[in-house]
């Protein structure tokens, strides 16, 4: 039996993708090139505007305009803040995840720490960050801007870090071994294996993070710290000021501008990015349903973009890879298992020592702050913790009550799904905090209106996580199981009990975990609000934190933060993690 005779048996592979005909590129491309150039000009102008604003003398209490005509500029300021904060989050998250995944000792500390950091509401970071930044740059607006950016950053980076870490942990063993046996340098392993493998997780978590950033924008652009008032011109402060003044027209303008901005970003940034990320899907066979973005294809055709990539970006990365790998290769050639040099051990030792000293110092001061509080204060704190606990969980329950049937209905009707999904996605992208003032306008007239409003805000902020996951879960229930339920004439209760609830359970748990964390964080906005020239607040841990930050009661802030972080971490450990395990062992639908 000779081989050549069998050669024809191999199934013919798909032909390589057809190239765009040259004609269509040049006729279309010219127009697109012009648009791209216009964008470059706009970007340069924007840079100039930002530079002028940031390098100006410090002006903590900017007069926030209520004129809709200022909205474009304000939106631009907010956008830049968000962009810088996000870039910072991404870089730090990747570094954090990389370190945690590559050193077992670091992992032991960094991963539990991540859990805790994730559970701390951003307002708890506020005093420390703001005071530090203002002290660093006392005379420049830059310090205040940086403070606001860092504040946004603290709400964004942790889940990205966790996603990157868990991606790194899940890189298939074969690929790792291939990288080792082909002597990939550290940089090459990072750029050609780790980063691509994590891209999809990074993209989705970035979207969640940025949405979180919009959610907390109002708090990050305008706040009181003891006797100091900080106001930064931006969309968030515009809305906050409008709410404080009870200016309904301005509120509506602000909300409109924010929604417009978010929808625009979704179309111009996230859709194309998702399409681009499709290439990093770890699959052996091409899936049929690929995401689509017009902009992505149009940009792909623009010759400016193409040339920029060919002439600038690619050569740069080539150069980087070659230099880094040549160095690594020479190091490997010079042989012997690399032992960490003595200097490196010392640096590591000093670093650990410095961290320990810093930690000791912090604990000492924290303990002193905490000792200022009396027993009654603690009882009061625990009482508010209980109230917030009730509020958060009622919001979750309410959310689950409507999203589960709705999600299942959408998931079970494939024709309804695409339409419903796009409606839901748009609704979910509107930050609930922006709608909050509008809600308050109506609800404050009622008795217990703030109570309802607080729950509504938590609900608005978190129900989407549950809904998305339930839809995904309902779609994933195999058709043959549905048919089996039909054949055996399950009544609707049995259908829910044996088919739907077990089927969506893992997804429901995933959604609830995210929602729970989100609701706790939302409590600081929901329970305490500057509205129509006064403070409306209801008792709870969130309002304690907001109030303490407002009035500069650091002892209270610290204690409340500690309590909240403890509660969230404990709930994660003892409730969600267990349900998660149950979901992945018993309720996993395996083929």
């Amino acid at each position: 039996m000779n081989a050549p005779a069998l050669r024809a048996a191999e199934p013919a592979p798909l032909p390589p993708p057809a190239k765009q005909p040259a004609g269509s590129r040049s006729s279309w491309g010219f127009l697109i090139d012009i648009v791209v150039f216009l964008f470059v000009f706009a970007a340069i102008f924007g840079l100039y505007a930002i530079g002028r604003a940031w390098l100006a003398p410090a002006r903590p209490e900017a007069q926030i305009s209520q004129d809709p005509r200022d909205l474009p500029l304000y939106a631009f300021y907010s956008l830049v803040r968000m962009a810088v904060a996000y870039a910072l989050s991404l870089v730090l998250a990747v570094a954090y995840g990389y370190i945690a995944a590559s050193s077992r000792r670091a992992e032991m500390i960094l991963i539990p720490l991540l859990d805790i950091l994730q559970s701390i509401p951003i307002l708890s970071f506020l005093p420390a960050i703001m005071l530090a930044m203002v002290a660093l740059f006392p005379h420049s607006q830059f310090g205040i801007e940086l403070g606001s950016i860092l504040l946004i950053f603290t709400g964004q980076t942790w889940n990205i870090a966790f996603s990157f870490y868990s991606s790194l942990k899940n890189v298939p063993r074969d690929l790792r071994e291939a990288a080792i046996i082909y002597r990939f340098s550290r940089w090459q392993r990072f750029a050609e294996l780790d980063l691509p493998f994590s891209t999809i997780g990074l993209v989705w978590n970035s979207m969640v993070s940025v949405a979180g950033g919009w959610f907390s924008l109002m708090a990050c652009e305008m706040f009181v710290l003891g006797n100091r008032d900080f106001r930064l011109p931006g969309l968030g402060s515009f809305l906050q000021t409008a709410a404080s003044n009870g200016n309904t027209r301005a509120i509506l303008w602000g909300v409109g501008a924010m929604i417009a901005l978010i929808v625009l970003l979704d179309q111009l940034i996230w859709r194309p990015v998702i399409v681009w990320a499709d290439k990093f899907k770890f699959e052996q066979v091409k899936s049929s349903a690929a995401a689509h973005s017009t902009l992505f294809h149009v940009l792909g055709r623009a010759s400016v973009v193409h040339r920029l990539y060919q002439r600038l970006i690619r050569p740069f990365f080539n150069w980087l890879t070659i230099t880094l790998t040549q160095r690594a290769f020479r190091a490997a050639e010079t042989f012997g298992a690399r032992k960490p040099g003595r200097a490196r051990t010392w640096i590591g030792f000093l670093l650990v020592a410095a961290i320990l000293v810093g930690l000791g110092f912090a604990v000492f001061h924290a303990a002193r702050e905490l000792s200022d509080l009396h027993r009654e204060d603690y009882i009061e704190l625990l009482r508010s913790a209980a109230l917030t606990f009730l509020r958060v969980n009622s919001a979750l329950l309410l959310g689950a009550l409507w999203t589960v049937p709705a999600g299942v209905a959408i998931g079970f009707h494939p024709r309804l799904a695409p339409f419903a999904q796009s409606v839901v996605q748009t609704a979910a992208s509107v930050p609930a905090t922006a709608l909050f003032p509008i809600l308050l306008l109506f609800l404050l007239r009622l008795r217990g209106g703030l109570e309802i409003a607080a729950m509504l805000l938590m609900l608005l902020g978190t129900q989407w996580y549950i809904l998305f996951n339930v839809i995904a879960g309902a779609t994933a229930i195999p058709t043959d199981l549905k048919e089996a339920a039909q054949v055996f004439r399950f009544g609707s209760w049995d259908r829910w009990r044996y088919l739907i609830l077990p089927g969506i359970f893992p997804y429901l748990v995933t959604g609830m975990v995210t929602a729970s964390g989100g609701a706790w964080n939302a409590s600081i906005f929901a329970e305490y609000f500057h509205f129509q020239g006064r403070i409306v607040s209801t008792a709870g841990l969130g309002s304690t934190i907001s109030g303490a930050s407002d009035t500069g009661r650091f002892d209270q802030l610290l204690a409340a933060t500690l309590i909240m972080a403890t509660i969230v971490v404990l709930i994660n450990r003892f409730l969600w993690r267990r349900l998660y395990r149950l979901a992945s062992s018993r309720f996993k639908l395996e083929a």
């Binding site: 390589p16 690929l175 080792i180 046996i181 050609e192 290439k279 899907k281 699959e283």
Partner: protein, 445 residues
């Protein structure tokens, strides 16, 4: 352990490229003892040879290969590369992976260029070299395709091209064709052999890990059969049948048969591990028999076929007829042998009276026969039954048994052993098992 190294045939060849001396692997245990995964092995790879490493799944052949390439550190002995010890440095070898291990986000040519990039070769040069090797393996015109656009056979061609582009002295292949369908695998095997025989590739030796006896016979100049628990060299065949080999030729069939004989009729009782003393109150000393990882379901099918064939059948022919490879057939055979439903002789399987009864019985009687055979011949199940009976509530947690097994096997293997034992015990209605609580309860008759 039998280390039947073929020093005789290799007097002419001067210097091995890679040589393993007393290479072994063991895992330390909490109590200070250790579990031997790979017994000390001496093995040399000489230029001009294709070596096939043959063995059943889980016998440690992949681990041995990874130790030879430097991917996995050895716990004893060392690997020499042209007479120099290899310590943490990677010799110039490549691996072709069973799963291809291509980077899905890189195009075909980028995948092939990546190892060159790692060696610091500038873009133009590496592009040229990658194109040359892609051409050699028949991937012309697919440079800019992504791996997911390719069929399995094409993907493995990329894997081979990537391995060859660095001009390795030894090309290691870890079950390179077992993820492909039969015809595609045959094609690739033929092409690879063609490249090798025509000296179109600079590789000086090939080392193929496989569980496919025919593949080994068609390709290799030397076949090393690995025995189990711990892994050791069980037999070492030198093959001098000229290429191209016809697998239907008498020589090939004879070789396949003798390999089957070796595999099904171990010269020593390899399956036993020296017994240990247990603490007071623990079950009495007994030999630990390693369970083959099968479910009882396939057993009846195999025995029924044997009954149909008059009670005796040639294993090689059987595997061909059922188009099952060694990997899937051997564990079932081992199970039948262990339960004394079957014995093997000269590469043939012969049914026993118990086996005959089992094959002919109805479902309930089968279970009864299985139960009797299992309790009589499988010490682990007997031990489990006794331990459960000794408890007043007839219940024990699986951890108890896993701790017992942990003394003899690595953590992963003891989990697999227990899983198999639970499968068998449930089928035999010796005990019930609740996967939620992990509790085993004796089934009262």
């Amino acid at each position: 352990m039998s280390t039947a190294n073929t020093n005789t045939a290799l007097d002419a060849t001067p210097e091995p490229i890679i040589e393993a001396r007393q290479l072994e692997k063991h895992y330390p245990q909490a109590d200070g003892s250790r579990i031997q995964v790979i017994a000390p092995i001496n093995l040399a790879i000489y230029p001009g040879q294709i070596i096939a490493l043959l063995g059943a799944s889980g016998c440690g052949k992949s681990t041995l290969m990874r130790m030879l390439t430097g991917l996995s550190p050895a716990t004893g002995g060392s690997v020499y590369w042209h007479g120099q010890p290899v310590n943490g440095k990677f010799p110039n070898v490549s691996i072709v992976f069973q799963s291809f291990a291509l980077f899905p986000w890189l195009t075909v040519i980028e995948n092939v260029e990546a190892p060159l990039e790692a060696r610091g070769i500038p873009p133009i040069e590496r592009h040229k070299r990658a194109l040359r090797i892609l051409d050699a393996v028949g991937l012309d015109g697919f440079e800019s395709a992504y791996p997911k656009e390719l069929s399995g056979g094409m993907k493995q061609r990329v894997g081979v091209a990537r391995a060859l582009v660095v001009e390795p002295e030894v090309l290691f292949m870890d079950e390179p064709f077992s993820a492909l369908d039969v015809l595609t695998a045959e094609t690739l095997r033929g092409e690879l052999l063609e490249l090798w025989l025509d000296h179109k590739i600079p590789t000086r030796a090939m080392f193929i890990v496989t569980h496919n006896i025919e593949e080994a016979v068609v390709l290799a100049d030397r076949i090393i059969v690995l025995g189990r628990n711990p892994a050791h060299i069980h037999a070492d065949f030198t093959v001098s049948i000229p290429h191209p080999r016809d697998r239907k030729s008498a020589e090939c069939i004879e070789l396949v048969d003798s390999i089957y004989r070796v595999l099904t009729h171990p010269a020593h009782k390899d399956e036993t591990v020296p017994p240990r003393t247990y603490g007071p109150g623990a079950p009495p000393k007994s030999k630990v028999v390693m369970l083959p990882h099968t479910r009882p379901g396939g057993l009846a099918g195999l025995l029924e076929i044997l009954v149909d064939r008059g009670g005796r059948v040639d294993l090689h022919r059987l595997s061909e007829e059922l188009s099952l490879d060694l990997e899937s057939l051997l564990p079932t055979i081992d199970t039948a042998v262990l339960l004394r439903f079957l014995r093997t002789e000269e590469g043939d399987a012969i049914i026993t009276p118990d086996g005959y009864a089992f094959a002919q019985a109805d479902i309930q009687t089968r279970k009864a026969i299985f139960r009797k055979a299992a309790l009589a011949n499988v010490p682990l199940l007997r031990q489990m039954e006794q331990a459960l009976r000794a408890k007043s509530n007839r219940t024990l947690s699986e951890e108890f048994f896993r701790d017992l097994l942990d003394e003899h096997f690595s953590a992963e293997e003891s989990r697999r052993q227990l899983d198999t034992a639970i499968q068998w015990g449930r089928y035999a209605e010796i005990f019930d098992y609740d996967s939620q609580s992990g509790k085993l309860t004796l089934t009262e008759a």
